[in-house]
Amino acid sequence: MTLYGRFDFDYIARWISPGERVLDLGCGDGSLLRYLQETKGIRGYGVELDPGNVTACIQNGVNVLQFDLERGLQGFEDDSFDHVIMSLSLQTVRHTVPLLKEMLRVGHEAVVSFPNFGYGPHREAIAKGRMPVSKHLPYQWYDSPNVRFFTIADFDALCAEQGIQVRELLAFADGQPVGGDPNLKGEVGLYRLGRQGSGPGG
């Protein structure tokens, strides 16, 4: 996440109000939470399974909980966080829908980002007959930690079907926001999500 995540820190931070409670799932070395602590004075907790990252979070002055996300968020109480973030790791989780619902149970809003398989150059790779390999998809098909392969359009459809409200979508390429068709131009999609029927802005 430190490798690829920084470009979206500023954009995520714009959605966070000072002093919020923030839960970051798959928080890596804690650099996003540290950034939000320093810029927004949030009270943050990260969830991370990798032992080296757990120690790195502690060194970064970030609260970290070594929980396995595949076990879900059942220990966390309803509405106990303002934002629940999952940055560039939704594609690594098998139980996608239960986790999204859990994020919106525990948090008023969810912030989710993922690499977009519908990105133009990826489509070209497939058209040429090979799986895409890029900055945000650096793995070969046989050694990838990713278990779900989907596009921005796929994710939009899932949200509509599951009653998840898309409150904002930003698409990025080369670390910069892009205009036009996000599913074609965006290497990464960054979403602000809420529950259908609850007010925007949480």
């Binding site: 409670r21 032992p51 757990v54 060194q59 002055g61 609260n63 070594q66 220990g75 966390f76």
Partner: protein, 377 residues
Amino acid sequence: MTDPRSVGLVVPQTARFDQELPLKSGARLPGFELVHETYGNLNAARSNAVLVCHALSGSHHVAGYHDAADPDKTLGWWDNLVGPGKPLDTRKFFVVGVNNLGGCYGSTGPRSLNPETGKPYGADFPLVTVEDWVEAQARLADRLGIDTWAAVIGGSLGGMQALQWTLAYPERVRHGIVIASAPKLSAQNIAFNEVARQAILSDPDFHGGHYYEHGVVPRNGLRLARMVGHITYLSDDQMAEKFGRKLRHGEPRFNYDVEFEIESYLRYQGDRFAKSFDANTYLLTTKALDYFDPAFDYDGDLRAALARARADFFVASFTTDWRFAPERSREIVYALLHNGRRVSYAEIDCDAGHDSFLLDSPHYHAALGAYLEGISA
């Protein structure tokens, strides 16, 4: 042999307290002594003190050695953690180890003379609780001029004391470090303790707890108690790996002598323990474990019980610990989250069961060391 990361030769000290101590049971101790050791130096602001709380069989002797001629055999029980350059760094922290009330390593306990009778207390020594230990430790803190602990740390029963400190004296603890512990014992935990107690209580040499006067000790009972306890400290995997079904003579002999290596190991552990530990202390310490339940007064609601805490927390558990399994530590973590406490939690992959907390597996000491480093002294 001088190890630069050892605190070296240490000499225990004794603090005498003459003011009566009311106990949770309603009994009163007219006065008491606490044996303790300190490592490192208390800084001018008195802000760098760390209290180390011991578990069932531990003592005040946390680090360093007592005999310069034989350091290895007289090493403190948490020497791998405490010392200059170690995770609990004595160049930064002033570390205090204390033998709890009711102990058998010099603090007032069943072996001490009862001022009312002039004889050893024996079974008349009142049952003490985790809360009572913390009260006694608080008096030691006063004596040492420590208003606020930078941290209180402990594993297992020691972790319960660390947690209790944050509840009894929220303003006097900046960091609670609770390792391989639980918010209360399960029925299974209590069951194992009860078997251990029955082993002691039914030993003919127990004499109702007044065995000192008879010149005997209930060695067999204590040995059995330790053997049962020891099984719960190890993991199934580790026992299988270490001993498996290895036979001492390579073939069965069809008798009740030691045949399987695990039998030999348990008997050795039991014998060694029974020679050095006191049966009355073992009894009352297992009861202190059983009684500990900060949520009891809150209808079993741990979240309400922990609302008083003001400290930051580090909680750790070990994957193969089935005595105090990771789930038990997570209960503490979720209750702390509910109360908005700052908390970090490490679930450490280590095959050594409950006893993992005494070892120095890399992730364990890395995470704990990082947490301790982040504590301002």
